[in-house]
C-alpha cells in the first residue's frame, strides 16, 4: 500500500473494527437495526478499510473502441493526426485536462487501454515535481484565491490527470462552498474536503459517503454540525438524498425527518479542520427511514442509501454525463450500474468500465460537451506549457462562470449537467480574453516578457511555414481535427499584411519573419474557434 497517497489531513485510520461491517455489505438494501458499538470516534477512524477500495481497481473486461476518423464536419486536413491520436486526445481531455504534444506521444505509446490503466493506477505515477513546484509558490491555503490557484495549477501540472478530474467531478456533486464553512478562520476546511475527495476519488461509494458526511466543510455547509439529538436539522438529510444518492421522487418528507434524526451526532471541532462523532448527541429513538426501522445512525443511513436501487443509476448517470455525453439511455448506463453492484460500489471499477465503453470513444461523445471554465483555463495552461504562477487563473474561471470551492448552490454547477449552460456572451468573451492574456505581453515595463515562448516553440519544432505552424498547434489542441477550409482561414490570417511596422517578429525556420501579433493572433484564433470551445 502506498502510504504517500494517504498523506493527507483525512488520512484513514488503519483500524478495521471501527467501520461497521453493515456499511461495507454489498448485499440487498436490508439494513439491520442499529445499536452497534458506540464510542467517541475521530474522523480518521471512519476510514477503516478505505485503502483497499482505492488500490484495488481490478481490471475489468476492455470494451471496444471505435473512433471513426470521419468526424462530424466534412473534409479533413490531410495532415490530421492518426485515429489513435484522436482517441488519446479525447481521452486525455475528458479524463484529464488535455496535454502537450510530448505527453500525447508518450501516452499514445501505451495504447488506449494502457493509458486507461495508467490514469486509474495513478499511485504508480510519481507527482513529486508538481508538489515541489506548488510548494515553491508558498501559497496560503487558508485563502480562497490561493486555494483556487493551487488546484488549477495541480490540474495544469499533475502527472495524475484523472485523479484531479475525478476530484473535480466529486467537488461538483458532493459540494461545499467556502462562503459557508465557518468563517474566514475555517476556509482551510475546503482544502481538507478537497484532499479527502482526492484521496478517496476511486474508493467505494460507501466510504465516500461516510467521509463526506463527516467532512468538516460539509458539516457546516449543510448544517449537520448544528443538528442536535433533540432538534435534528433536516438540511443534510434532504440534500444527501436529493442530490448525492437517490434523486427527487425516491423519498418522502418523513424520510427527511427520520433521516435527519438518524444522522445526528457528528460535529466539527471548534474552528479546526477536525470533526468528531459524539454518541451522547445521537438521537437514540426508533426511526423508520426508507422502509428500514430501528435505532438507526449515520452508518445505517449511508448503508441504506448506497444499497438503494436508485443510487447506482443516479451516480452513474452523473458520471456518464460528466465524462461521456449528456442524456444517456438506461441501456447505456446498465454496464456502469452492473459494475457498481458487482464491485461492491467501487468507483474506480465503475470508471474503468466507463472509460473502456464504446460510448466513451464514440463519435457521439467526441466534442459533445462545452469545455467547462476549469477545463478551458487549466487545459490551455497545460497544453501550452505556460510558464507562470497561475495567479490570474482564479479570476478567469470566475468570469467564465466557475469559481472553484464556491459552487452556485448545493446542486453544484448546472454546466456539469448541461454543458451548454457554460456558454453565453459574457463567458465567451472571457474565454477569448484569457487566450489573449496568455499570448500577449501586457507588461509595459518588460517588453520581452512572455508566458509562452513562441520563437522557442518554432525553433524546437522546426516550424518552417505558416501551414506548419497551424498544423503543429492543431495537432494537440484540436487532435488535428480541423477542416481544410478553416485551416486555410488561419493560414490566411498568419500571412495577412500588417498595416504598420511591428518591431517584434517571429522567424520561422525557413528564415522568413512575421509580425508577432500575426503569429500569436493565429494561435489566438485557433483557440477561439468553436471547435476549441468543445471538449
Amino acid at each position: 500500500m502506498n502510504k504517500d497517497m494517504y498523506n493527507q489531513p483525512t488520512e484513514p485510520w488503519y483500524d478495521d473494527d471501527i467501520t461497521d461491517k453493515r456499511v461495507r455489505g454489498a448485499g440487498g438494501a436490508s439494513a439491520p437495526p442499529g445499536g452497534g458499538a458506540q464510542r467517541n470516534m475521530s474522523r480518521r477512524k471512519l476510514f477503516g478499510v478505505a485503502a483497499a477500495g482505492v488500490a484495488g481497481a481490478a481490471v475489468l473486461t476492455a470494451g471496444g473502441m471505435a473512433f471513426t476518423s470521419e468526424m462530424q464536419h466534412g473534409t479533413w486536413n490531410p495532415l490530421a493526426s492518426s485515429a489513435t491520436n484522436v482517441q488519446i486526445g479525447h481521452l486525455l481531455r475528458r479524463a484529464g485536462f488535455g496535454a502537450t504534444p510530448q505527453e500525447i506521444s508518450s501516452y499514445a505509446s501505451l495504447g488506449f487501454s494502457g493509458v486507461v490503466d495508467r490514469l486509474l493506477n495513478y499511485q504508480q505515477v510519481p507527482d513529486d515535481a508538481m508538489e515541489s513546484r506548488l510548494k515553491a509558490l508558498n501559497l496560503d491555503l487558508n485563502k480562497p484565491q490561493n486555494q483556487q490557484q493551487w488546484w488549477l495549477l495541480r490540474m495544469a501540472w499533475t502527472q495524475r490527470p484523472l485523479l484531479e478530474k475525478m476530484t473535480l467531478f466529486w467537488h461538483g456533486v458532493l459540494t461545499s462552498s467556502y462562503h459557508k464553512v465557518g468563517g474566514k478562520n475555517a476556509y482551510g476546511r475546503m482544502i481538507t474536503q478537497n484532499n479527502f475527495l482526492r484521496a478517496h476519488a476511486f474508493d467505494t461509494f460507501d466510504n465516500i459517503m461516510l467521509g463526506i458526511t463527516a467532512d468538516p466543510a460539509m458539516l457546516v455547509y449543510l448544517d449537520l454540525t448544528r443538528s442536535r439529538k433533540t432538534a435534528p436539522n433536516e438540511n443534510y438529510a434532504r440534500e444527501m438524498m436529493e442530490l448525492f444518492t437517490l434523486g427527487l421522487g425516491h423519498y418522502t418528507q418523513q424520510d427527511v425527518y427520520q433521516g435527519a434524526a438518524a444522522l445526528t451526532g457528528w460535529h466539527v471541532v471548534g474552528q479546526t479542520t477536525q470533526s468528531h462523532y459524539l454518541p451522547f448527541d445521537h438521537n437514540d429513538l426508533t426511526k423508520t427511514f426508507l422502509g428500514h426501522t430501528g435505532n438507526l445512525d449515520y452508518k445505517d443511513v449511508i448503508n441504506i442509501l448506497v444499497n438503494h436501487p436508485a443510487t447506482p443509476w443516479f451516480i452513474c448517470r452523473k458520471l456518464f454525463t460528466f465524462f461521456t455525453y449528456e442524456n444517456p439511455s438506461n441501456e447505456e448506463l446498465t454496464p456502469l450500474v452492473d459494475t457498481y453492484v458487482k464491485s461492491g460500489h467501487n468507483m474506480g471499477a465503475v470508471m474503468r468500465t466507463l472509460l473502456l465503453s464504446p460510448q466513451f470513444s464514440s463519435t457521439k461523445a467526441y466534442r459533445s460537451r462545452l469545455k467547462s471554465p476549469t477545463e478551458f483555463v487549466a487545459g490551455a495552461y497545460r497544453a501550452l506549457n505556460v510558464q507562470g504562477n497561475g495567479k490570474a487563473l482564479p479570476v478567469m474561471t470566475t468570469l467564465m462562470g466557475q469559481t472553484l470551492f464556491d459552487p452556485p448552490n448545493v446542486a453544484g454547477w448546472p454546466g456539469d449537467k448541461v454543458s451548454a449552460l457554460w456558454l453565453n456572451s459574457g463567458t465567451w468573451m472571457t474565454r477569448l480574453n484569457y487566450i489573449d492574456l496568455l499570448l500577449s505581453n501586457r507588461n509595459p515595463r518588460n517588453p520581452t516578457y512572455a508566458l509562452i515562448d513562441l520563437q522557442g516553440i518554432v525553433n524546437a519544432n522546426h516550424i518552417d511555414t505558416p501551414e506548419h505552424f497551424v498544423d503543429y498547434f492543431a495537432s494537440f489542441l484540436l487532435d488535428g481535427q480541423i477542416s481544410t477550409d478553416r485551416h486555410a482561414q488561419l493560414v490566411a490570417y498568419f500571412n495577412q499584411q500588417e498595416s504598420g511596422m511591428v518591431v517584434q517578429r517571429i522567424t520561422l525556420t525557413n528564415g522568413k519573419s512575421y509580425p508577432i501579433n500575426r503569429v500569436r493572433g493565429t494561435l489566438y484564433l485557433l483557440m477561439a474557434t468553436p471547435e476549441y470551445q468543445l471538449n
Binding site: 462530424q72 464536419h73 449543510l222 448544517d223 448544528r226 443538528s227 442536535r228 432538534a231 435534528p232 436539522n233 433536516e234 438540511n235 434532504r238 436529493e242 427527487l248 427527511v256 459533445s368 462545452l370 470566475t398 468570469l399 467564465m400 452556485p408 448552490n409 448545493v410 446542486a411 454546466g415 448541461v418 451548454a420 449552460l421 456558454l423 453565453n424 456572451s425 459574457g426 463567458t427 468573451m429 472571457t430 477569448l432 480574453n433 492574456l437 500577449s440 505581453n441 477542416s483 482561414q489 488561419l490 490566411a492 490570417y493 495577412q496 500588417e498 517584434q504 508577432i516 501579433n517 493572433g521 489566438y524 484564433l525 477561439a528 474557434t529 468553436p530 471547435e531 470551445q533 468543445l534
Partner: protein, 420 residues
C-alpha cells in the same frame, strides 16, 4: 463584416440561446424562422418602452421574517428566537410590517409605489430548491419545463433591429427564466469585462483579428456540435459589447450604489435603461437565503442588501426620469417553515410574499393572507395566491403581452397594477 441576428433569421436559422435546459434542442439546430416569427406575433405587443426588472432571491427567502405578521400570536409562539418583535417591525398596517432592515423599501411604500402580494405559491410543493426554481421559471409544475417564461416573452419581441439588449441577465449564467429557443440573452457581471480585448500590438484595435474570428464562427458548419449556440453567442457578444461600451460613456449614476455584486448588477441594468439600449426584461439574482441555521445574522444582512440595492436603483431611475417606465418584481423559490428549527434557523417552506414596486404600481397588500393555524403535514403554510396570477398581471397590464400565450392558460390577476 457585421452579422446581425436579422441576417441569421433571414438565412433560415433558428437562433438558439445558451440557456436551454433541454439539450436535445441543440441537436435540432435549425428551424424555420417563419414559424418563429409567427409564434412571436401571438404575444407581440404594442410598441412600448416598458421594462420589467426581475430580482430572484435564491435559496428560499423567509417570507414571514420579511413581511412580518407581527400581531399573529402563532408567529411569535412558533419562532421563540427568530420572531421579529412588534416594536422592531416597520408597520404597514394593523397586521403586517417590514423587516427592520427594509427601511428603504418602507420609504417607497410610503411614497405609494410598492405592493406586497401575500401567500404566493403553487400546489404540491416538493420542498426541493431545484424543482421549485424550475417551476417558478419554466411554469411546468412537474419541474420538467425547458423554456423560461421571460424567455418566451422576450422571444415574442422579434424586432427588426435585433436589439441585443431586449433582455439582460446579470451573472455568469443565464437564468432558466430567460431561456428560450430563439433569443440570446446578454449575460454579464460588469461593463469592463464585457468586451473582446485586442492584442496590444494590433494597430487597428483588433478589427482584422475580430473579423477573422467572426468568419471562423460564421463558417462553422451548421450541422457541427453546438453550431447555433456558438454562432449566436458570438454575434450577440460582438453586437452587444459595442453598444454597451458606447452607453457606458453616456451614463453617470445619479446615486451611489451599495458595494457588492448585487449593487453592481443593478447599476448595469440602470445604465442600459438610461442609455436607451431597448431593455425590456432585466434579471438579477441575490443568493444566500437558505437559512437552516443562524438565520438572523444572515437574513438581516440579506434584507439590508436587498433594500439598499433596490432603493438605489429606483432612485437612480427617478433622477434620470425613467422611473415611470420600470416595474421591479422579486421572487423566491419558496418561503420557510413556520416553526423555527433547533438551529436558530428555518427549513424549507412553501408560500411567501412577493414585492412589486415602481411608479406605475398601486400601493397595497394583495392576495390572501395564508393561515398560520391551518398548516400542511410538513408544518408549512398553504398557498393562497397562484404565482402565475402575479406573472399574468405583469404581462397583461405592464408588458402588453397576452399572458394566456406566455403562461399557457388563465390564472387570474391581482390589482397591484392598473388595468391597461
Amino acid at each position: 463584416m457585421k452579422l446581425s441576428r436579422r441576417a441569421m433569421i433571414k438565412d433560415g436559422m433558428l437562433v438558439v440561446s445558451a440557456g436551454m435546459v433541454m439539450p436535445a434542442i441543440f441537436s435540432r439546430g435549425v428551424a424555420s424562422a417563419k414559424a418563429l416569427s409567427q409564434e412571436g406575433a401571438h404575444f407581440s405587443q404594442a410598441a412600448s418602452d416598458h421594462t420589467l426588472i426581475v430580482i430572484q432571491l435564491a435559496g428560499g427567502n423567509d417570507g414571514l421574517n420579511t413581511v412580518v405578521p407581527y400581531t399573529d400570536a402563532l408567529y411569535n409562539k412558533m419562532r421563540p428566537t427568530l420572531a421579529i418583535p412588534e416594536n422592531k417591525v416597520l408597520t404597514l398596517d394593523s397586521r403586517l410590517g417590514f423587516h427592520p432592515n427594509l427601511a428603504p423599501l418602507k420609504k417607497i411604500w410610503d411614497e405609494g409605489h410598492l405592493a406586497v402580494v401575500e401567500g404566493v405559491g403553487y400546489p404540491n410543493q416538493s420542498l426541493s430548491h431545484f424543482q421549485a426554481m424550475d417551476i417558478w421559471q419554466t411554469l411546468d409544475l412537474n419541474g420538467n419545463g425547458s423554456q423560461g417564461w421571460l424567455g418566451k416573452l422576450v422571444s415574442g419581441m422579434v424586432d427588426k433591429d435585433g436589439h441585443p439588449f431586449k433582455s439582460l441577465d446579470i451573472g455568469v449564467q443565464t437564468a432558466p427564466a430567460l431561456t428560450s429557443i430563439n433569443a440570446q440573452v446578454p449575460t454579464l457581471i460588469n461593463v469592463p469585462s464585457y468586451r473582446i480585448a485586442p492584442d496590444p500590438l494590433d494597430r487597428d484595435g483588433g478589427n482584422v483579428r475580430l473579423s477573422a474570428l467572426m468568419k471562423l464562427y460564421n463558417s462553422y458548419p451548421h450541422t457541427a456540435p453546438y453550431a447555433a449556440l456558438l454562432d449566436t453567442t458570438a454575434l450577440n457578444a460582438q453586437d452587444g459589447s459595442t453598444q454597451l461600451h458606447a452607453a457606458d460613456t453616456a451614463y453617470q449614476a445619479a446615486v451611489t450604489y451599495p458595494t457588492g455584486a448585487f449593487g453592481d448588477g443593478l447599476k448595469v441594468l440602470a445604465e442600459s435603461i438610461v442609455a436607451g439600449l431597448g431593455l425590456r426584461v432585466g434579471y438579477v439574482t441575490l443568493g444566500g437565503f437558505d437559512t437552516h441555521a443562524n438565520e438572523q445574522t444572515v437574513h438581516d444582512q440579506l434584507m439590508q442588501t436587498l433594500a439598499d440595492g433596490v432603493s438605489a436603483f429606483y432612485n437612480d431611475l427617478v433622477q434620470h426620469g425613467k422611473a415611470d417606465n420600470v416595474v421591479i418584481m422579486t421572487w423566491s423559490e419558496f418561503g420557510r417553515r413556520v416553526e423555527e428549527n433547533g438551529s436558530q434557523g428555518t427549513d424549507h417552506g412553501t408560500a411567501a410574499p412577493m414585492f412589486v414596486l415602481g411608479n406605475p404600481v398601486n400601493k397595497g397588500i394583495f392576495g390572501e393572507p395564508p393561515s398560520l393555524s391551518n398548516l400542511d403535514n410538513a408544518g408549512n403554510m398553504k398557498y393562497t395566491t397562484d404565482f402565475r396570477s402575479v406573472y399574468a398581471t405583469v404581462l397583461d397590464r405592464w408588458m402588453g403581452a397576452a399572458s394566456k400565450d406566455v403562461l399557457g392558460g388563465s390564472f387570474g390577476s391581482q390589482n397591484f397594477l392598473p388595468q391597461s
